[in-house]
């Protein structure tokens, strides 16, 4: 029987963790529970559900700062920011549909714990770059805080960085403070059609090496572009390379023009305006083109996320060329490859993918797979022995009895 605890205050969280510690009975920490399919499943019969620890506690638009309880819905935060023409610049993806769940249930805590980021990562950074401070309960059953609420702070170690991407294995965050930024007035996307992967990566590099401040650079091969919900993209009949320009109105227009002139040698270009541009980047952000959208269709494929030096993106995927039933697309100017592969022969696929990535300096994360595959393939790219030893001691420093999400990152 699973006991699901639903604390509504930081004190409740403390009590739950202390009891878990006293009983040495591990807790599975969940926010919206949308990303439980990521990493090893946690073996515990107690769930600490933070979704009722909710609410924005501080928002000062002029100071670019927002604090909220960890279980606050991301959707609520985004709506509040939008009212003030602000945003979370790291563009957190909606990941629930990746695991077959409904959109809209992600919590802020989950986004931070997984260090998520969308296409704007290349310009604005990931969740880690916007995470200013927190309050948490460690696996030692102690409430503590780190960081602060101001933009610049080097007082003590940067524990927010350490917690960001720790998948709930070090501490249970109860309060989170973030840096927020003004939302762009306008966004447009320049499209180039028909490039192969290698040529597309060159085009993206040319765009990113220009002063035109590109805030998204993605390439969808033909089969993937055909799955886009944006009419112009799915009807193109070609691979689509997309470059986003955001900012103040006149600036966006000028930069789009300059970018199109710069990229002339790659072929003719088109422009997507606000609505279509927004829809396309949401799809790219949320891995929508690689998700099954109907019964039978590519269902059961494993989903990988490869992070590589951007100039190596195209080369890294050629390693997969001989395998059938794979699809991929690029984001982050080639530095991020989303790859869907058949769920069969997972071990072999894993060594192929991780081998190709390791050669070029980077890492491959298994984002979604069948339960059987998740048991045999570690979701996270293996690290060096020295680094693994640090990680183990770090876990011990925060959670010596291993009561918080044990095994999740193994």
């Amino acid at each position: 029987m699973t006991d699901t605890l639903s604390p509504t205050s930081a004190e409740d969280v403390l009590a739950a963790v202390r009891d878990a510690l006293a009983q040495e009975s591990p807790l599975e920490i969940v926010g919206g529970g949308t990303k439980r399919g990521w990493g090893r499943s946690v073996k515990s019969n107690r769930v600490l559900d933070l979704s009722r620890l909710s609410g924005v506690t501080l928002y000062e638009p002029e100071e670019l700062v927002l604090s909220a309880k960890a279980g606050t819905k991301l959707a609520e935060i985004k709506a509040l920011l939008a009212e003030h023409k602000q945003m979370l610049a790291f563009e957190p993806p909606e990941f629930a549909p990746v695991y077959g769940g409904p959109a809209g249930r992600q919590t802020l805590g989950g986004i931070i714990a997984c260090n998520l980021a969308g296409p704007r990562r290349i310009k604005a950074g990931a969740a880690r770059d916007h995470f200013l401070g927190f309050r948490a309960v460690s696996g030692r059953g102690e409430p503590y805080k780190a960081g602060g609420r101001v933009m610049k702070n080097v007082t003590g170690y940067d524990l927010p960085k350490l917690l960001c991407g720790s998948f709930g294995t070090l501490a249970v965050m109860t309060d989170i403070t973030l840096k927020v930024l003004p939302a762009p007035e306008k966004a447009r996307t320049v499209l180039i059609l028909g490039l192969d992967d290698a040529r597309a990566c060159e085009a993206m590099a040319a765009a990113l090496n220009s002063p035109h401040d590109v805030s998204g650079a993605a390439h969808l091969p033909r089969a993937v572009a055909a799955r886009s919900g944006v009419n112009y993209v799915h009807g193109a009949g070609h691979a689509v390379t997309a470059l986003r320009v955001e900012g103040f109105g006149p600036s966006v227009e000028a930069r789009c023009q300059a970018l199109r002139a710069l990229l002339k040698r790659f072929g003719p270009s088109e422009e997507l305006h606000t609505m279509n541009s927004g829809a396309l980047w949401r799809e790219i952000r949320d891995v929508a083109p690689l998700l099954p959208d109907g019964p039978g269709e590519s269902a059961g494929r494993d989903l990988w996320r490869l992070s590589v030096p951007p100039a190596e993106g195209a080369v890294a995927v050629t390693a997969m060329r001989n395998r059938t039933d794979t699809d991929h697309y690029f984001d982050w100017g080639g530095g991020l490859v989303w790859l869907a592969v058949a769920g069969t022969a997972a071990a072999e696929a894993t060594s192929l993918i991780r081998g190709a990535v390791a050669l070029r300096g980077g890492h491959a994360t298994l984002i979604r797979a069948s339960p059987a595959t998740r048991e045999i393939v570690p979701a996270f790219h293996p690290v060096s022995n020295a680094e693994a030893a640090i990680a183990e001691r770090m876990k011990d420093a925060f959670d010596p009895k291993s009561i918080l999400n044990p095994g999740r990152m193994d």
């Binding site: 605890l5 639903s6 004190e11 409740d12 202390r18 009891d19 510690l21 006293a22 002029e62 100071e63 700062v65 260090n115 980021a117 950074g125 880690r128 770059d129 059953g141 102690e142 503590y144 805080k145 602060g148 609420r149 101001v150 933009m151 610049k152 702070n153 080097v154 007082t155 003590g156 170690y157 940067d158 524990l159 960085k161 960001c164 991407g165 720790s166 930024l181 007035e185 090496n209 002063p211 006149p250 600036s251 000028a254 992070s307 590589v308 030096p309 100039a311 190596e312 890492h363 996270f380 790219h381 690290v383 020295a386 680094e387 693994a388 640090i390 990680a391 420093a397 925060f398 009895k401």
Partner: protein, 495 residues
């Protein structure tokens, strides 16, 4: 300043230790004469001085690893050092410690435009990176005022910032990877040319860790393309409030300037006397707002900023008409520290960050403290991100004046914490703010940070005596207290 008591047994073995280090770093890499060690006795916080037992200047990562392995085995403390410009005493030597300088690690190893990054050794200066790539139109964004001298390794250790950090981020947001040698000699690589490495974000943790977790032997930095144009607007105001309000209004209008700096009257006068940048002398506060991007954008934003400033009562509004003029506007601000250095025998630079809207209150209270301590103060301010640099003027030759300056500074920093800010925005805790840490963190907070230190350096041999007000043994910190009988647990809401 209380530092860990020197270990007599180590001091007694000085000659033997020098010989052992010479076996690792041959030639002139080990310095043991007093005159040779003298230049290393302090960093930018010159009030604290201590001759190191020995200085070693390795040239390879393998040597660094051997040195640390040896020192760990023999229980010898090590203090890493870059250019020694730290303003918090982060590189202050220890009497029984080896000072490990990275000055000889001064090569740029690779410039990779295709991946928009450069791989450099830690002793390369901040400015040298930009100089190596600017002919291609690239630059390295964080630009501390000390950029001619300070090293990228020191920047990593302090998570240094600069006037362009509001828009482009601090060191932490611009470093992609490091090679790190830990106290046990193990060499690890964190990050690389790709983003967001697997596992815990140890790269993020190491940046800003003040040389206490490992010695950085290589750094991969992100390169950015220079914006097409940049213009600066010089704004003068009759009050600090009006200047502060203008900053808030600019950000509320959705504008994040490339840089937004504020100076108060004493700072304006000192800078103007020194640099002749053309600053108005009859204003209470000066703002320099830099807008960068394509020309159409910059023109548009300059107009918006001008309108906002006039609406808030700016009495001086000057827009740079050439790059020379823009640089002249900046020259005064960038030389503010030395400018203040000219009007006082000594100055003491503080570095708190506050929620920006509390600025008028903090400045008023600082002025009151200035009267109380009988010491003048000039304020420069990274206004966009709330990072305040009060410069306290004093004369160390007057008995008691240094102590007064320190007490004054401590009160300012506590005030910063009281209004919701922090002790240090970019200069680090070091020895200087070590004993103030309890103003911001309780014992549990600090113990958790110390446990992180123990993960990397369980014997506390690497740069000990910095950051933490009290040193605990790692074994003692490891103990778990189980809080039994949680009655509250039974009452928790369940589904």
């Amino acid at each position: 300043m209380r530092m860990p008591a020197p270990d007599e047994r180590v001091l007694a073995r000085r000659a033997e230790i020098a010989a052992a280090l010479r076996a690792i770093v041959p030639g002139e890499g080990v310095i043991d004469t007093e005159e040779g060690r003298r230049p290393f006795e302090c960093d930018g916080l010159t009030a604290y001085r201590q001759l190191p037992m020995l200085v070693v200047l390795p040239e390879t990562t393998a040597q660094v690893s051997e040195i640390l392995k040896y020192c760990k085995r023999e229980g010898i403390k090590v203090v890493p050092r870059g250019a020694g410009t730290s303003l918090s005493g982060g590189a202050l030597p220890l009497a029984d410690g080896v000072l490990l300088g990275v000055a000889k690690f001064n090569r740029i190893l690779e410039i990779d435009y295709a991946n928009r990054c450069a791989v450099v050794q830690p002793g390369v200066t901040n400015l040298a990176i930009t100089q190596a790539v600017e002919h291609e139109g690239f630059y390295y964004a964080p630009d501390p005022s000390s950029q001619i001298a300070c090293t990228i390794g020191g920047n990593v250790a302090e998570n240094s910032g600069g006037v362009h950090c509001l828009k482009y981020g601090l060191t932490a947001n611009n470093v992609l990877g490091v090679e790190l040698v830990m106290m046990d000699g193990a060499i690890i690589r964190l990050g690389g040319k790709h983003l967001d490495a697997p596992g815990y974000d140890l790269l993020g943790l190491v940046i800003g860790s003040e040389g206490m977790l490992g010695v950085v032997t290589e750094v991969t930095v992100r390169l950015l393309k220079k914006p097409a144009t940049a213009r600066a607007v010089l704004l003068g105001f009759p009050s600090n409030e009006a200047a502060g309000d203008t900053v808030g209004a600019i950000i509320a209008a959705g504008v994040i300037p490339g840089g937004m700096e504020m100076m108060d009257k004493p700072a304006i006068h000192a800078a103007e006397d020194f640099i002749h940048a053309g600053y108005p002398r009859d204003v209470e506060a000066l703002l320099i707002v830099e807008l960068d991007g394509p020309a159409v954008e910059v023109d548009d934003l300059v107009a918006r900023v001008e309108a906002i400033a006039r609406g808030k009562g700016a009495t001086v509004v000057q827009v740079s008409q050439s790059d020379e003029e823009r640089l002249r506007f900046w020259a005064g601000r960038k030389a503010a520290f030395p400018a203040v250095g000219r009007i006082s025998p000594d100055y003491y630079c503080m570095d708190g960050t506050i929620p920006r809207r509390r600025l008028p209150e903090v400045l008023t209270k600082t002025a009151a403290l200035s009267a109380k301590y009988g010491l003048r103060v000039a304020n420069v301010f990274h206004a966009g991100d709330g990072n305040l640099h009060p410069l306290i003027l004093y004369d160390a030759n007057n008995p008691g004046e240094l102590e007064r300056a320190e007490a004054f500074g401590a009160e300012i920093l506590k005030l910063c914490v009281e209004v919701g800010g922090v002790l240090t925005g970019e200069h680090g805790v070091g020895v200087e703010k070590r004993d103030l840490m309890p103003a911001m963190f309780d014992e549990v907070d600090l113990a958790q940070q110390e446990r992180v230190k123990c993960v990397f350096d369980p014997d506390s041999l690497l740069n000990p005596g910095k950051v933490f007000p009290t040193l605990h043994r790692c074994a003692e910190l490891g103990r778990v207290h189980v809080h039994g009988g949680q009655t509250r647990f039974a009452d928790l809401p369940r589904f």
